[in-house]
Symmetry: C2
Subunit: 175 residues, 2 copies
DNA sequence: GTGTGGAATTAACCCAAGTTAAAAGTCATG
DNA sequence: CATGACTTTTAACTTGGGTTAATTCCACAC
């Protein structure tokens, strides 16, 4: 696809260690990151220090702060590596400008954004309509593999509950 | 903007009464609706008959089922008029095909989808990180006008709580 | 006025999940 | 295999919000 070529040409690759941040909540970061290998998490930190996990980012996924890249405001979340990562980075603006003149690139971006929209709607549905237990059951069904990649603590923060609550739910669901 | 012209040329306008559905959960509907006037709600109905409101759609907003339009699957939600509405409808596929060859249209669509993504992320944040009371306070601050447009019952279903719960929270917040 | 039907509030009770803290597992390192 | 640092589980207690049902508020019709 033309988009891959554009990214290969305009992007650059680098590695990060587990624990390294790509950016933090409140900072400006106008990049789009493509994950070649490794694992990251995007998370919110509330004023009283509580963490909520927005998403886990796996190889093949893309991540960046829309708020910072597109709206020019500080990022609402932080992005950190959970494992050593190989990443490719491309400036959002380069992609955005290219999309204005190149129909192949813009078509790829439209497809990307439509897929992104569908994913966000699915998450919205789960958070709005399902109970904590329902969200756990759905995760079990849809991405059971994630359970081996991250701690239960992180699964809980992703599902919008505490690790203690998740432990209880696990027991209820399996027992 | 070129997009407006495209919609004026390829779309058609019509009216609906309060209570009319544009489509229902489980149906296929591959249209994008542009609201000229009136008010609609998009909502999920669970197996046991509980309603959860995905969003209210105001004049100037657009709405359609991404799942149906883009992924070709049945819509995950229903769309109904809360007040008499003047709408313009355009087939998603027409827009999508046009975006592949026309850079002005695709640029407008990219902008639309980026804005859409930012809105969905904000909603995700609220549902993941805020308590019921927190979500109500945020709504009070960000769109106080909506309180006069729809019943408290509907506000509650939008915020992911029951009307009884919202009544309690209102009392707590103001009293 | 007097009904009538939906919307909102209130009250009583219930429960899922949060909180705090202790106990038990797990695993890497010396 | 002992030590220490997490992670997970368990327990005891608290709490926010759900549920059900009764009551009060309205707006509108008659």
């Amino acid at each position: 696809m033309k988009l891959d070529e554009f990214i290969a040409k305009n992007g650059s690759s680098f590695s990060k260690e587990a624990g390294d941040h790509l950016f933090r909540q409140g900072e400006h970061d106008q990049s789009l990151y493509i994950v070649q290998s490794g694992l990251l998490k995007a998370y919110y930190l509330s004023a009283d220090g509580k963490e909520n996990i927005k998403s886990f980012i796996l190889p093949g996924d893309n991540i960046g702060s829309l708020m910072s890249s597109y709206a020019g405001k500080p990022s609402t979340f932080s992005l950190v590596c959970l494992k050593p990562c190989e990443l490719t980075v491309v400036e959002f603006s380069a992609l955005y400008e290219a999309s204005k003149t190149d129909t192949e690139i813009s078509a790829a971006i439209v497809d990307f954004l439509l897929g992104f929209g569908i994913k966000k709607e699915a998450r919205e549905y789960e958070l709005l309509c399902l109970s904590a237990e329902g969200r756990y059951r759905k995760l079990l069904k849809n991405m059971p593999g994630i359970l081996d990649l991250v701690t239960q603590n992180e699964i809980a923060r992703y599902l919008g509950m505490t690790p203690v609550g998740l432990s209880r739910i696990k027991k209820r669901v399996s027992g």
